[in-house]
Symmetry: C2
């Protein structure tokens, strides 16, 4: 061919940003002796291999005529029924649930449904780069709102939306991870959830609620989701669409999640799914349905919690023991991440190179900010993958570099 392929790319493709986190993960992978707190990986010890192996065999042999055939783009009806029971939302119609190829897939379709290039999405700063990258790839401009210990600050959100509204900027939705947020580990309390919904309603702005870690709570009590709050207290069932994942409770190699929201939102999302993946893997959907039906899920989640809680505690203890004065960190009630803030003069992008030399890895905080709001004195630490011993050793190594 004459014209190079690179010169033929579509505008969104040509402007796609490089994923620094993927580069970082490559640098930290398979290095002997490396203690990595960088990834967001569940521990393989948490995978229910025996149960899943048995169920896959049974489902494919007994229900293969159905689950090896083309399935619905919105997902398996049997699986939807099981989800409704498991999530205690039996009143939902099938048009209000859509099964997705992991929760990022639902986030992508939601974005595709609403975003034209140049449109604005307001998110937490710091925020989850996987979602931010998917949104930016659709042409969205991301605007970050600062957080305090309870997540996004409603007054700041109000101020920013007010300013954007005055300038007639096309703000399309608000993207939030209210529980054990990635990367900060922070959880919005109930008052904060109400306040954020109030602001969203004032500006007539839909919310995309990302809840990949909700089942992994190690302390404290469950808080009502934004999705449920909007439907009940605020009597506005169309305001919030929620995306959930099975990646953190069954294993992310099985690409499975779901989204729930108003049919007007899910309808076009399903149409995008038809055109992109046709349907999620049907065998995986039915196996997960049987896993839930047989009552394995609650027990299994308890086991994961018993595995991860001591790891979180080990990391908090190690931070307490080894970190210098001036370092601060979040105390997450669940999830997989702790967010550490250092004195302003510590540049964690530089610290990263030093850490890699000393065989301990993390993700520098700068990688989690939408453009324009970057801070460079923070890091994200993952505590779900390494053992307690390695967590202690790794945090000590890191502290010695400061």
């Amino acid at each position: 061919m004459i014209v190079p392929i690179e010169q033929r790319y579509s505008k969104t493709t040509a402007s796609m940003r490089h994923s620094f986190i993927r580069e970082i993960l490559k640098v930290t992978k398979d290095v002997p002796g490396m203690i990595s707190f960088a990834g967001g990986l569940p521990s393989p010890e948490s995978f229910p291999k025996e149960l899943l192996g048995g169920l896959f065999s049974q489902v494919i042999r007994e229900e293969g005529d159905e689950v090896l055939q083309y399935g619905n783009s919105d997902g398996d009806k049997v699986f939807k029924e099981t989800i409704k029971k498991f999530e205690e939302v039996p009143y939902l119609s099938d048009e209000e649930i859509m099964i997705t190829v992991g929760s990022t897939n639902g986030i992508y379709y939601f974005t595709r449904t609403l975003i034209d290039p140049g449109d604005i999405i307001v998110c937490e700063a710091p925020g989850f780069p996987g979602s931010l990258a998917a949104m930016e790839a659709c042409g969205a401009r991301m605007i970050g709102v600062e957080m305090d210990e309870y997540g996004m600050i409603p007054d700041l959100l109000h101020k920013i939306l007010g300013r954007l509204s005055q300038k007639n900027e096309p703000v399309k939705f608000l993207y939030l991870i209210p529980e054990f947020q990635n990367p900060s580990g922070r959880t919005m309390n109930l008052a904060r959830r109400r306040a954020i919904i109030q602001v969203a309603k004032e500006f007539d702005l839909p919310i995309l609620e990302d809840q990949p870690y909700r089942e992994l709570r190690y302390d404290g009590k469950r808080i009502i989701t934004l999705w449920e709050l909007a439907r009940t207290e605020f009597n506005d069932p169309k305001l919030v669409t929620i995306a959930k994942s099975f990646s953190k409770i069954l294993g992310p190699g099985l690409r499975l999640g779901f989204a729930s929201g108003p049919p007007e939102m899910l309808g076009p999302m399903v149409k995008w799914a038809q055109k992109s993946t046709v349907s999620p893997d049907c065998a995986t959907q039915r196996v997960t349905a049987r896993f839930i039906e047989k009552g394995y899920m609650r027990d299994h989640i308890s086991k994961i919690i018993d595995l991860y809680r001591p790891r979180r505690d080990a990391m908090l203890k190690a931070l307490e023991s080894y970190m210098p004065d001036g370092a601060q960190w979040t105390v997450p009630e669940g999830g997989m991440f702790i967010w550490v803030t250092f004195d302003k003069d510590i540049d964690t992008d530089r610290l990263f190179d030093l850490a890699i030399e000393n065989k301990v890895a993390f993700i520098p905080g700068s990688k989690f900010y939408p453009e324009g709001t970057i801070k460079t004195n923070e890091i994200r630490l993952n505590f779900s993958y390494a053992t307690e011993e390695l967590i202690d050793e790794g945090v000590q190594r890191l502290a010695q570099l400061l």
Copy 2:
């Protein structure tokens, strides 16, 4: 919310067309006594349930730590190696193969990589609506080129590209199903393949070659793919990207396909995959790898051919026996479809309603044309799903309505 959600849709979402074929399939599904030649479904008898059930159990139990973990967006390395052996392309680099969530998924990413709204894709008329819908959803304008018995007519293609080039229209690529085409069942012979590549090269136009049915050949000899022709005879390895599927040989409920093409094309396709599905299902990939490695695939494909060949023959025989003078049909060497052309005064959209009343279903030809080129005296008949007896009965029913 105040502004209705429908008024918030992105431009591409708002302009998405309705899928008439999905509507048709709904009308024909689960009707007692209906003989349906409408869908494009493989027969459940073709699903290797026992083998797959056993392998899923083994892979998840023995390799679960790996296949339940996050996998690469470009696909499982082990699976790629197996594909290279199975396809007899050991010389390919990992950057030239990408695993996809079914082959439509690869077609979507290819389109996303090249198409800005308003760009043109040139395709066969009639063409495969699943792909056409995915392309139109990305904002592409589809321009169809008429076919004869050997597929797209090169002279016509040349004329159309010449005209578009004169008008400076942004033609981005050529989309082709060269074997057992959906819907026509036609296969390009070698001379035609060369001629089409020649025209594509003259206009410096990449080709997307869709090959979902290639393994299902019932007569005649395999013909070299456009992909291989371009790499060898034409010494232009960047010209063609090929998309293949496991849907027709293992079961479409397992969402698995792959694409092979130049790294400059697959690179951004993988980036789109990261943002949309993160990765294909890792367990399904590894199971399929083991299925191929253990030597099950060739035997299994032979069995499917032995199942479908008599069905094709039964349909051809029934058409010969029952169809009125003036009706003509293609004699496909493989795949799943026969294309029937009636006298010009027969409107197959009307015939469809009558057929449904008489409990026999097909897809009217009009549903397979890009806008502007629609013909209404043709139908697509699927022969892979119904038994030989039902095929005979169904074609007879249909002929009686003419």
